[in-house]
């Protein structure tokens, strides 16, 4: 015990200074310029403490796969037409496209052509004249993961347009996306903006077709029925002339005719050319603008429009028009999404939680500090110093690791306070035992620390196992609890064993003839 290693003392001092510096950004409003960058970040506060919106959305990825499969119908049609191969049937379901060739003699040629034209599909000749193309598993995986990435991109652009700081948008599991918008309150608006597919389509109205007959079920082959927002039906050409992909810009404008908010679109080059051709060829006919499959308006084309701009009107409120412009600018989602989980916290609740969390830390801490001094006197005081060190160390570690503090996380810190002194209780009780067994004070201290060590390790490692499982299983706030608990356990092993021992050794160092310990 007299040969106390000097390097331990320096290690403790380094950790102490480091943790005070690392924890400082949480309490200081400004730091000197020489302060190391890795130590200038305060703890991240979780949404449950600073308020904000937490959404988990589910992406309908089956829909994307289905779309991918049916898109290939056009590829097949074109390829067969180029080769002058005629077919009698061409249809798709969720994962397969089936082609029936008219002349059996053409089948080999068709196989060759289509094999080259279709990527990511496996081909199977089920009958002499029938080919079935099944989307491959790899392709499905690619399509799905591309859809999720694209969804994340689009949501990010939309959320950024809300003007919020540091939103978190990330993949969660196979088909979900987590969206966190700190400090934002309007959950209804956030959900509306994030959730819109923003499927914008321009289709021609079939002026020759008979709407009444179509409504009774006799829809012309290339036509479809769509409804306006108030329920009036339209007979439209199936073909989509222009879509959201052709839009370069979207902004709020005022419709001069009705003096109402509207959204002005500017097409990209290709879109402008297409729109120019469409308006030129269809003067005095109507075209319909559909959003999410609902007809917003169906204006008559008065003259050719070459400027590449169009306007969507349809009795919007200013906010609606503004939000529509946002989602059109950000682009369409690749698949419909659905909010499956929401946890949004208002600012006042977050602040209350911080205040209440802090006061429970303070009360809990004071109670433990008092108890330890009363019960273990000088040794209790040493344990208390270690405990305070422990709290500073946790704060520093959390800040420097960029971990997030949540309300359950605060509970984790409170709990750590209770459990951190456990190691000292174990050691001190053991020292008392050693003294009762007639050991001298110094060898009692050594014996107490040595014998308690394996117990402390075992006890803490098992708690760590629970904390790790908790981290794996938990969502946001619970994860925060697991993090602070783990950090707390690790920090407490250092402070309760190494730090207390150093203080005890150093404070008894120059007193050779100690008869009794203040324990």
């Amino acid at each position: 015990m007299h040969a106390y290693a000097r390097w331990k003392f320096w290690l403790i001092l380094t950790v102490l200074i480091g943790s005070i510096m690392g924890a400082a950004p949480n309490v200081m409003t400004s730091l000197p310029s020489w302060w190391p960058a890795s130590m200038s970040q305060p703890m991240n506060l979780g949404l449950d403490l600073k308020g904000g919106i937490h959404l988990v959305v589910d992406v309908d990825i089956e829909q994307v796969v289905k779309q991918q499969v049916s898109d290939n119908i056009n590829v097949i049609r074109r390829a067969l037409r180029e080769e002058n191969i005629r077919y009698s049937k061409l249809e798709s379901n969720a994962t397969q496209v089936t082609v029936v060739i008219k002349e059996v003699a053409d089948i080999n040629q068709a196989e060759k052509v289509l094999k080259a034209a279709l990527n990511g599909f496996t081909m199977e000749a089920v009958e002499a004249d029938t080919l079935v193309f099944t989307i491959s598993e790899n392709e499905v995986k690619d399509v799905k993961s591309y859809a999720i990435e694209q969804t994340i991109e689009v949501i990010r652009r939309r959320v950024d347009a809300l003007g919020t700081t540091e939103p978190v948008i990330m993949r969660q599991g196979d088909r979900r996306v987590l969206v966190q918008i700190p400090g934002y309150q309007d959950s209804a608006r956030a959900k509306a903006i994030i959730g819109q597919t923003a499927q914008l389509e321009f289709k021609l109205v079939d002026e020759k077709g008979d709407l009444d007959q179509a409504l009774q079920g006799q829809i012309p082959a290339d036509d479809m029925i769509a409804y306006g927002s108030s329920g009036q039906p339209y007979l439209l050409k199936k073909r989509t002339e222009l879509s959201g992909k052709d839009v370069a810009k979207a902004r709020v404008s005022i419709d001069p005719q009705y003096n109402e908010p509207a959204v002005s679109l500017t097409f990209n080059n290709q879109g402008a050319r297409q729109f120019d051709r469409l308006t030129n060829e269809n003067v005095n006919k109507r075209f319909a603008i559909l959003l999410e499959g609902v007809v917003q308006s169906a204006p008559v084309i008065r003259e050719r429009i070459s400027g590449g701009t169009a306007q969507i009107s349809g009795s919007f409120t200013p906010t609606e028009a503004h939000d529509l412009a946002i989602v059109l600018r950000a682009g369409a989602l690749p698949a419909p999404i659905k909010v499956v989980e929401e946890r949004s916290i208002g600012p006042s609740l977050g602040q209350d939680s911080i205040d209440q969390g802090l006061s429970s830390i303070i009360y809990g801490c004071v109670a433990v500090l008092l108890f330890m001094v009363v019960y273990y006197r000088f040794f209790g005081l040493v344990a208390n110093i270690a405990l305070l060190f422990n709290i500073v160390l946790i704060a520093a570690a959390m800040s420097m690791l960029g971990a997030t503090l949540t309300l359950p996380g605060i509970a984790g810190i409170v709990l750590t306070i209770g459990m951190a002194v456990d190691a000292n209780v174990l050691i001190f009780e053991r020292i008392r035992e050693e003294i009762n067994n007639g050991k001298t004070p110094f060898s009692a201290i050594d014996g107490g620390y040595d014998k308690a060590f394996s117990t402390i390790m075992d006890a803490n490692i098992t708690t760590l196992i629970a904390a790790i499982v908790l981290f794996q299983f938990g969502t946001g706030p619970i994860k925060g609890f697991a993090v602070t608990l783990s950090v707390g356990i690790l920090a407490s092993m250092f402070t309760a064993i190494v730090v207390t021992r150093a203080i005890i050794v150093l404070s008894h160092k120059n007193r050779k003839n100690i008869k009794e310990l203040s324990i």
């Binding site: 959900k191 909010v339 208002g346 459990m419 009780e429 629970a466 609890f481």
Partner: protein, 314 residues
Amino acid sequence: MQIIRPDININFLGARKIAMAISAAVLLISLSLIFFKGLNLGIDFTGGTLVEVRFHQQVEMSDIRKSLEPAGYGTAVLQEFGSPSDILIRVQNKEGVESSVISTEILDALGNFFSPDQVEMRRVEFVGPQVGEELKSAGMWAVIYTLIGILFYVMFRFRLRFALGADAAILHDIIIVVGVFSLLGMEFSLPVVAALLTVLGYSLNDTIVVFDRIRENFDLNRKKKHPEDEILVCNQSINQTLARTLMTSFTTILVVLALYLFGGEVIHDFAFALLVGIAVGTYSSIFIATPIMLSLEGKFEMSEEDLKELEARP
């Protein structure tokens, strides 16, 4: 100061039959409560919508209900949350309804009735039906994985009978805490599961300390000329660690009590589960873990060490 005298020698294991009987009875009651009365599952597990609002004026519950009727939520469950101005509104998911808009409709309805600046959104939680199911199974698996992880660790560090004793004590604690939640009809939510896992870690912590001492004393005992009975050694170990067991439980209960009293309404149930769990966990490490471990004597071990020791005996 020293409350527990160093030469204390209480015959804990002498009372093990009584303790086991009491525990068996409490477990039976807990299990029947859980199975027959069930748990008041929170929306984390059932799915649904929860809206917490603060009113900046005096409001009557009946007015709140009236305000929700036009939107079709007249049957929502209303509850005061900590103070009369904070109200929790709960609505179940309905089949086929786009449920994520329910909270918006509720807030709009309240705003229309009372005026928007009188109603403050404190919290919105919505859990879709599928997510609820997933969280339920995730919570269950978390407890099972922890039990297995601990079983292996204790087996590795000690022996199988110790591991089984520790797991029995943990299971005992978890079932009783869940039983108390069922008995009081308190809401069983995600944070409560987190508290359960913490209790699990804590209870084990307690048990390990006792086991560690038993192992140490077993080793000492083997070296003696006339080894004592295992049960006496265990009882001695429990007494030796008693001061620590009680001190640690006391300090931990102190801080959890602070959390329970000052931590606010959101963390209340979480802290309550911890309080019950720590009390039960302290009891179980003395009265459940060690007796179970003892009752498995000779069942799972005949290590070389033991065999040698047996041969060495006269």
